[in-house]
Structures are given as structure tokens and as C-alpha cells.
Amino acid sequence: MNRLVFLPPAVAACALLWCCMGRHGTAETPAAPTVAQTVQPPAAPAATVPNTPDRGAGVDDSLVKTFRDRNGSLFEGWSKPQAVVVVTGELDGYIEPCGCTGKENQKGGLSRRRNFLRALTAADWPLVSVDLGGQVKRFGRQSEIKFQSIADGLRTMGYAAVGLGPGDLRLPAEELVAAVAPVGDRPTPFVSANVGLLGLDANITPRFRIVEAGGLRFGIVSVLGDAEAKQVRNDAIEIVPAAEGIEAAAAELKKANCSHQILLSWASPEETKILAARFPQFDIVATAGGADEPPAELPMLPGGARLVELGHKGMFAVAIGFFADSQKPLLSQRVPLDARWGEAEDMIALLATYQSQLESLGLTGLGLAAMRHPTGRRFAGSASCADCHQHAFDVWKDTPHATALATLEEQKPRRDGDPECLSCHVVGWAPQRYEPFEGGFVGMKVTPHLAHQGCENCHGPAAAHAAVERGDVRASVTERDRLRSEVAMSIETPEGKQKAINNCLECHDLDNSPQFDFDTYWPQVEHPTPPSEADQAK
């Protein structure tokens, strides 16, 4: 007989006590909680609960099996821990799974992370979620909006502590302050022992945090490493040496009699290890700058601390279980955030709001001024090419390149207002800079002829060539031939082929097209000039 298991409210299962200590408030400080507060963690969905939190609720069994086979089983041999600490970080702006296409095969994204954390809560595991920081990597209005969206998402997920990475700290301080500030009577989850937005004594964020879960008390300190701090050029942010920041926080943590102390170190592994050796009271030390893939087991540092690497782009979370078992007090699990976790509605809604903000601001509102194309030429649109190059056009219109923009419009939420997506789905943008060239695609109302991944993204802007061939502009034979040669391509020579490959890789990069191989992909889009067109052109 099937039996439905109803959980008690998640609040009863895992009430977190947040103590915002280390905020030595001044009269000028915005209202900030300085006393212990009980914070309601996010409610778990009422549903049947698996014994092991190794999948998202409602995800199809076959999908779960596919990804279990591909990326490994989770929490094998685990019993219910006293408490579980989940460490994430280095999202690098990948609010969605890394890559634009085939997301089901990619790892990461806030939505899956949300469902993973929900699964832990639903399994009645007392949970503390912490994040190393590094939510964004790029600079500009889009990154500011993205940082705010991610901060909102982390609050929704009930994060206890979130650090600040160097990419985050490149954003204007006034934007950071607005994004990390407390909302209502909930304290900010952002924390740093050595970084002060508008100065350390402005107390925008606390120096450390103490959280209780499952009867254990965790002290959490976050720092930005000294080498990384040197790269932050933001006059409105005060940064003191990491060791100095830890020293000040450690004295307060000592008084709090924590069961475990966690250091979130936004530094290279080498610098983090030096900090861990100097401050042996931390038994969990998370570092930035590791490899793409975190190790399956947490290495032990000479002082006995466990070193946590997180990989890149938010593709993994690391769960650390604490057990009341002297033989086995600690277990860890690297958790790939793959499709087995499914999608969380509230994070999809957050993503939709983010996309809607981008769309409403438009390119101008996002500060994207068109830049000059390196050739100085302008774009004509793929339809213009068809006047003479009918064969090539016929080949192209049957390839996915010819419907590239439509794939963004069909996404839910749609992505056709997102410069980070648009840049490879329309004509006339710099793919890796996410910026339009002068005369490039602006929008369907203004430049519909530049929709999709068209001819000129490979051949180069062809407005002058098309105008001369149509007879709109008079030109000498020499000039006509020069314009033709500007847009001619050949992969017959090694140099020509390499140039073509480099151009393809602008969009078919490791994130968005990990399987890309020129020799495999090229035959699918190849369109040699047929003899009849070649004769006509003479």
C-alpha cells in the first residue's frame, strides 16, 4: 500500500537562530538588528518525501535515473544528520544553468539549487546554507540587476550567510548597498569580516554570523583574500587585510561557544590555506579559485580543517553533514545541480522578473551604446544576400542559425531582451562582449532584417557590397571587386580555416556549445558557391 508521509511544518524542523553580532552600530547606522532573531526558513512543499534528499520533488523517475547514472548517486550511506551545512558559491553570473542551449544537459542555476535545498528541508534535515560569494563577474547595468535578483533569490532560499566576491565588489557601492541591505525585519544574509560597503564602520553588513540548527551552533566568517582585494578598485568600499578582519571576528566567535566554525574565503586555495593555518579554530574552510569540478572528498588541511572547493559557475553545491557519532562525525557530498532537481516555480518567477527588467530598460537603459565594428562597415541583413547568393541562402534558411532569435522568444521566460543571449542570436553584435555594433540588431520593430544568426556574422558587414551589387551605389570594377573580397570566405587554406573556426568559437564556446567540433558541424552549414552563381558574378 502506498503511504503518503506528511511532514511537520519546516519551521518546526529547522528553526534557525540568527545572531547578528559584530555590528557595533553607531548613531548614523541604518536600523540594523543587533539582537538574536528567530528567522523562519522557507516553507517546504507539502508532498511525499523520499527517504534520501537526492532528487527534486515531482521529477520524473527516468530523468532522475539518467542523471544519477551520469553524475553519480547522492547521500549513499547517510542517515539523518544532526545538521547539514550546504556551501555554494562562484556563481559567476550563471543565474541559469551554464549555457544557452540544451540546458537539461548542463549543471547549475538558482532554480535547481532551490529544489535541492527544499529536498533537504523536506527530509527534515536541519539546514544551514552559506555562499562564498562571487554572484557576478561582469560589470554594467545588467550585472547590477542580476546581482539584485540573485540576492533576492538567496534571501528566498533562506541563506544564513553570503560572502562578497571581487566581481560583486566591482559594482557601484550604492547598488551593492541597496541589494544587500536588510529587507523588512530580516537581517541581511551578506556578511564580511574585512569588506565594508561605504566603510567598515558604516555597518551595512555584519562582520560574522552565528546560526543554530539541529542543536549545533555554527559561527560563520567571510573574507576577501588580500590578493583579490588588490584588484578591487572601488573607492566607496573599505577593505582591510583578511587576517585582520578574521582576528576581530574570531574574538567575538570565541565568546559564542560555537560547535563549528566556518570560514568562507574568497581567495586562491594557496592564500586560503595560509589563513586556515593561522586560524585553526575553523573546521570548515571554503575557498575560491579551485578547479571546474570540486573534489569528491574534502581534503584535510594540516591543522585538521576540511577544505571545500566549489567548482565554477554554480554547477555544484557541497553538503557537509554533522553526526552525533564519534566514529563518523562528518560526511560530505558533492552535489551536481543537474536536471534531477527539476525547476522551482519561485526561482523561475524571479528569473522572469529579471528578464522583464532587462526588456523594459532596453539597450539604452542597460547602457549599451553601439560600438564601431572593427571594419567600420555596416550590415545589410541576410535577405539582401539572397538576391545573388540564392544557394547559400537556401542552405542557411534550413539551419538552426536561421531561427536563432525564435529560440529565445520561445524560452519561458523569453530571453530576447537579454543582451547576454541576444549577442549570439542576431546579426551585428560582439558575441563575447554582449554589445551591439553600430547598425547591428536593435529590436524586431527597428531592425527585423537583422534577426537570427545571419550571413554577416561570419562574412562580415556587407551593406556597401550589397548596395553596389544592387546598383544603388555606383562603383568601379576595382571597387566592386574589393567589396566582394571583403566578404569572401574560404576554408581551403589553414589560415582561412583557423579564422573561420575562431569566428565560430565566439558563440560555440565551451559554455554554450560544449560538443562543438568544426569538422563535424561545418558540413551542416556548408554552402559553397555553385558554378552558376560564380559565373553570374563575373
Binding site: 548614523e28 541591505a181 573607492d235 578547479a291 560530505s332 547602457g367
Partner: protein, 370 residues
Amino acid sequence: MLEAASRPWRAGDFSPSGMLPSGPSPTVDVPEIQFAFGTIGVGAKGSHEFLIRNTGEAPLELTRGATSCTCTVSDFEETAGGSSNAKVVPPGGTTKLKVEWRGKGDGGPFRQQASVLTNDPRRPQIAFVVEGTVIPIYLAVPKAITLPKLSTGTSEQATVRIVTFGKEPPTVDSLTLDNEETAHFYSLASSPLKPAEFAAETGATGGFQISVDIRPGLPIGPLRQTIKAVFRLPEEVTVEIPVEGAVSGDLALAGQAWDSSREAVMLGTVSSRTGSQTSLFVIAKGPHRADVKPVVREVVPDSLQVVVGEGRAVGSGNVIRIPLSITIPPGSGPANHFCSPQAPAGRIVLDTSHPDSPTLTIPVCVTIIP
């Protein structure tokens, strides 16, 4: 004691395949599941063979599983009766899994894995890990010059270090700027790095520093410029260093209630019974920052109480923050400044003493209800 999912099996552990078979069964034995290759160049290939033994009593069936990256591939050794995707190892026999990898990306730590599925019920999956460090062709520190809010009235300096890993130290051919419109505000210079300045980077053979001087007067708005450095190792390499940020006026606002998209203080709906309190900071930059001494000239609605605090230097002193405490005291009269056409924004007007921006008007969106 710490354990993880890929630990060797021990009696009493959970078995995902359920009950173990009672008859003869294969037993997979791998003396090594992790290989540290040291260093490899970007684009270069490395390989390693992992030995797999069958110490059980039934044939061991092996199937090639997924790799964690397309930069890593695995193959079983070629023998009669097997394929590169699957292999049957008789009791007492051995085979090898060859894992190949390619140094990818911009260099740095590398760790990838290749998995093998087995019919050993105790160990249905094994993850073989290769790890090391990818040595790049060059390393730019920082990769971009970011100036989040550059004051139009101030000059700025920045440096970028390019550390190279070629056969020879670099020879710089050219330093250029791609945005001609603002290029005249920039001066670029390069100088070679001393050995001690790149010694910390394993495998580095040379390097140079790019010094950037930015003159005052850049137009307010997004900062868009790219420094292009061309050098030889002896092969030609081009590095692009974006200069990104924004040029802004000398006064800005920050705080929980400040909405930069709407450029207004958002106080929302406030009950006159409870009132409300919030704080903002005026951020002053530029050569006149120390002169900024805000004084409240006007507030709308008139129940707003605004107190200006003492200015304090932040960090290195290039920015001064001045706190503003904004209070709607209990008992304030009703007011509607919801920032709509029917209910226009309220405001706080400050006299600043700044020579170029003597007045700062801060829109306030608030509705006070009884």
C-alpha cells in the same frame, strides 16, 4: 573521519543494488583512482592509464561512463573481443582505462573525471580523476580595469600586469585603444617586469606592465574603452583589456530605501500611528568632496524630519559618506506622494556647498495614512 560517495566499499555500507548475490560475482579492484599530472599547457594533451583488476570469481563487465568535460575522454585498452566502450575482464584478469585530457581555458587548477560502470554489485560506478594545473600562454592581472564610478573631475591611474609563459620573454609591439572618441583622455606605457615580479607564477618566463593614465574630463555615462596589447613570444599574441565602469557626477546616494532605477527614496505606505525611520548616505567624490556640507533647505511632505550627520572618509579617503536620517514621526498628517501623475513625488532639497552641484534634490515616494 570524513567520507564521500566515491570512497571504497566497506562491509556494512549501503548497497544501491540491494541484496548482494549469493553466487560467484566479479570484484573490481583499482589500485589508483586519482592521478595528479602536475602541469600542462593550454591546448596541450595529457594521458594516463588506470589499471582495473577483477579479483572476483565471475566475469567483470565494464562500460565506459560519462566524462565530466568534453576536454576529457576515456577509452579501454584495445584487446580482442572488446570495444572502446565496453570490456569484459575474466576472473583474475586486468584491463586499462586510458584517460586523455586537454588543457583548456585560461589556465589554473584542472580537475575532471571519467566514470566507468561495472557489474560488481558492491561498486557499480568508479570515478577516475585527473587533476593538475593548466599553464596559460599569458596571464593578465587584472583581466579588466573596472572603475565603478569615476568622477568626471578627477584623474585616475591603473596598471595591468601581463605575465607570459612562452619560450622567450615578451616583446611588446603595440599598445592601442579601440574607442577613438575618448582615446585622447588616455596615456598608455609599457615596461618589462623584473624576474622577481613574475617569480610567483609557476612556469612564467617574463612579462610586462601596462600603465594607464586617465585625464579628467571624460563625459558622464558608461565608460567604454579597450586596451589592445600586441606582443611576441616569439609567436604573436593579442590581449584585450577592457576599461569598464561609469563616469558620474560627484554626488550620489546609497541606502536601503534608495532605488537607483527610479532615482527616488522609496518609503512606501507609512501609518501615521507608527511613523517610520530610514537612513541614506550622500556619497561625495571628486576634488571638492571635503567641501560638501549638506544643509536641509526644504522637505515635502513637511512632516519629514531629515537630520544630516557628520561626513566620514571611506577607505583611502577618495570618497566621503554623509549620513542622512529620514524620519516620519508618529502623528504625522496624511500625505500622498506615491510618485504617480496624480500623486507627485515629495522631495528633500539639500544645499550642498559643492561648487558644481550646489543643490541636491532627492525625490521621495511615500504615502502617509491615518
